[in-house]
Point group: C2
Chain length 461, copies 2
């Protein structure tokens, strides 16, 4: 019975939050080369935190990119081994002017802590370390074997993690992978996520004349790369929200009747959703509900666009170049390599006269759809039910964690996605935050999971 352990968590919460703030102060932005030293600082910080929590063999492994941090505790004989994965890198914080408090100066307001990385994923990495610490400080041991792997490149597509996993297959061998990098369905509605969308992300660079031209002297006969880019992007979806890449839907597994039923049981309110992000209407692919569109159907979004004069006033220029970042969320069983071919084919077939186009593949990650009846998933559901005192949900999620599919493929074990974020906590956006009550419940759930994973069978109510 881990009552001592749970008590330790309750009484040390302020100390934990103080530590988390230190972690959040490190601007470990993996997408920006100039932050390389800060990303390494992040790695060093989590290594020390792992050691302090009682884990052993804490090691920083260099890669071709940012480092991987490993630690373990392997003295629970005859017990299974869980590999806890997370990431210590964060998204770029821009646009800075929209943050209420600076992104790397964590600020507690109400029940929330505000900072870049608060929910994605530093807070959720930290809660597992504190769950481990609580066991070690109160029992001097853990109820299962634990391996920890934390990477610094999740936000740039984890380019070096799969090679690392393949190279260190023995080191990482386990019975299940535990990841906390997804949201719960809602506050007081804990959930385990069994499906993730994949990602195919491209940069599209369109070039017209070899220099910027006077729009009066040349407008009307020279193809404008900005107009051309808009035209190409507009053609990527039809009026029913269907993506027009050739063969794009061929491999998509459609929403099953059972899933449709399970999703309909969730208390989704379109009105509340719209109000939460202040939009007049939801939109999307015809023939699907909002939850289906979010979780189980592909999507195409322009994440950035640029070209020509963006300053004050009116500059009458016909620009030489334009660019856009185009991302697609994929669902099982789409293959991002195939989608890249489809994207390149679409671009080639839709390039208008007078311009040239270059496609850069920025990254891709496969979608995930995992079985929901593994022992690890059941242990997680049991831990959540005990801590939150409610029956947890089985949900999917529209986001991507590239490494999940890789773990399943390469380690051949189930991956459990037990998240403690909330959908409106601005991951990837200004004023990112984490609810500290859920951080607290997350530490307890992490601690309880360790026990349940070694000891029990669970039947969901």
């Amino acid at each position: 019975m881990p009552q001592k352990t749970l008590h330790y968590i309750d009484t040390n919460l302020d100390q934990f939050i103080g530590e988390l703030k230190d972690f959040l102060r490190i601007p470990s932005i993996s997408a920006r080369q100039e932050y390389g030293d800060d990303v390494r600082k992040g790695a060093e910080w989590v290594k020390k935190c792992a050691e302090d929590s009682g884990l052993e063999n804490a090691t920083i492994y260099d890669t071709h990119g940012h480092p991987v941090v490993y630690a373990d505790w392997l003295h629970a004989e005859e017990k299974p081994t869980v590999l806890i994965y997370g990431h210590y890198d964060v998204q770029p914080p821009e646009p800075l002017e929209l943050w209420t408090s600076p992104p790397f100066e964590p600020d507690v307001r109400g029940d929330d802590i505000y900072a870049r990385g608060a929910v994605d994923d530093k807070g959720q990495v930290h809660l597992h370390l504190k769950g481990i610490e609580a066991w070690m400080k109160t029992h001097g041991k853990l109820p299962v074997n634990v391996k920890l792997i934390l990477e610094g490149e999740e936000e740039v597509g984890s380019p070096n993690l799969e090679p690392f996993v393949l190279e260190h297959a023995d080191l990482l061998s386990c019975d299940a992978v535990m990841i906390s990098d997804t949201p719960m369905y809602d506050y007081d509605m804990p959930s385990i996520t069994y499906g993730l969308r994949g990602l195919a992300y491209f940069e599209l660079l369109m070039a017209g004349p070899d220099r910027d031209l006077h729009s009066g002297m040349f407008g009307g006969v020279v193809a404008n790369p900005l107009n051309a880019l808009c035209g190409m992007i507009a053609r990527m979806k039809d009026e029913n929200g269907r993506i027009q890449l050739p063969g794009f839907y061929d491999d998509v597994i459609d929403v099953s009747p059972e899933e449709r039923e399970e999703f309909e049981r969730l208390p989704y309110s379109e009105e509340e959703f719209e109000k939460r992000i202040n939009i007049p209407d939801t939109v999307g692919e015809e023939g699907y509900t909002d939850l289906e569109r979010l979780w189980a159907r592909p999507a195409l979004d322009v994440c950035g666009i640029w070209g020509g004069y963006q300053g004050e006033g009116a500059k009458t220029v016909l620009p030489a170049k334009a660019g856009a970042k185009v991302s697609m969320r994929l669902v099982a069983n789409q293959d991002y390599h195939k989608v890249e071919e489809q994207f390149r084919q679409f671009v080639e077939e839709n390039t208008p006269p007078g311009v040239t186009v270059e496609v850069k593949d920025l990254y891709g990650g496969p979608p995930v759809l995992t079985p929901t009846d593994s022992k690890a998933v059941k242990a997680a559901l049991a831990a959540l039910e005990e801590v939150f005192e409610t029956v947890p949900y089985l949900t999917r999620n529209g986001a991507s964690i590239p490494i999940v599919a890789d773990f399943e493929k390469n380690l051949k074990v189930p991956v459990v996605l037990m998240g403690f974020g909330l959908p409106d906590q601005n991951a990837h956006a200004p004023d990112e935050r984490l609810n500290l009550k859920n951080y607290h419940r997350g530490i307890k759930s992490a601690a309880l999971f360790l026990e349940r994973f070694g000891t029990m069978e669970y039947i969901r109510s």
Copy 2:
């Protein structure tokens, strides 16, 4: 006979070029508030230059924006009066990285002087002042009466010049207006321009959710303002290059059979045009030649676009906002106020669900189509023919000089557009330049025009 005058120009050319460099060093960027002092410096520089050339009553008039500079010489009894107009402000120089030498450090390479404003319009203002100086230094007087008006807001749509002209109608009364702010048809092919396009320039601001969102967690049900903006811009033209604003072509005067014939006599080479700006193909409205599309048909160009993440790498964001600068070139007899209504109506009718749109009217200027048989036009043709030793052309131009239509309307005199730029001199773009041989011939033409305007009838060969 102005041989002494022409000789003076030949022998003082180096001195003139040195002065022009001083003028070009002033970053008189009217679109940027932070350059206000530099714009005033530009006004002071041209005032002093006018005084040094022998003009009298040189005065800086303050306006609600940047100042107007006036000067005159009115002692040629019984002779007509020409009002020379130009502008001492310049376009913003961005993108700076594409300049070979810094935009405000004039650099002579080969026959060209490179700097922002070299051709548009400082060089062409200066050549008139030097033509005047040449007369004054060699004859102590001018062959006609001259008034000079130079403004500092041409590149932002001349918002304060028309009020100034109306308020100072007596001061500015004249028999013709002379403007050098257009290109010649080509090197060794001098021309007078009788048609200009007008301009309607808007900013389009599209808003979706009230903050940037995670594209995975929200993509598929939230309207993306970047996709929406691209869709709206794409719909502004059909596949034949026709602009889709309601009623847009109702007031357009079509190309006349005579003009079509005159344009066809010009040695336009599509291949050379494409090679000059390095494009694979010209494009444009079906049923018209390139010169007709450039000079006598409307055009729609996106001058700038922005939204979301523009940095390095892949940020998976569904952005809250996007914007674009959309400019339309208008032809006689389109009214830019009407076009604004048409644009707003189009935007309203084409706003997709889930986003809101704001239209800002940045500026408008009317198109021009002037008679080609005035005495002033004939004097200009005569001057050009003598200096260039070839028969000049009558052409139109795709660009806009907002004030030309205003002068015609308010002063009720013909406006002569005698330009010395070349089409590939990068007005409004990096590496703007002026051919110094044409600058030299321009000074002589300006000087000769003053004589011919007072003395002769001219029949074009």
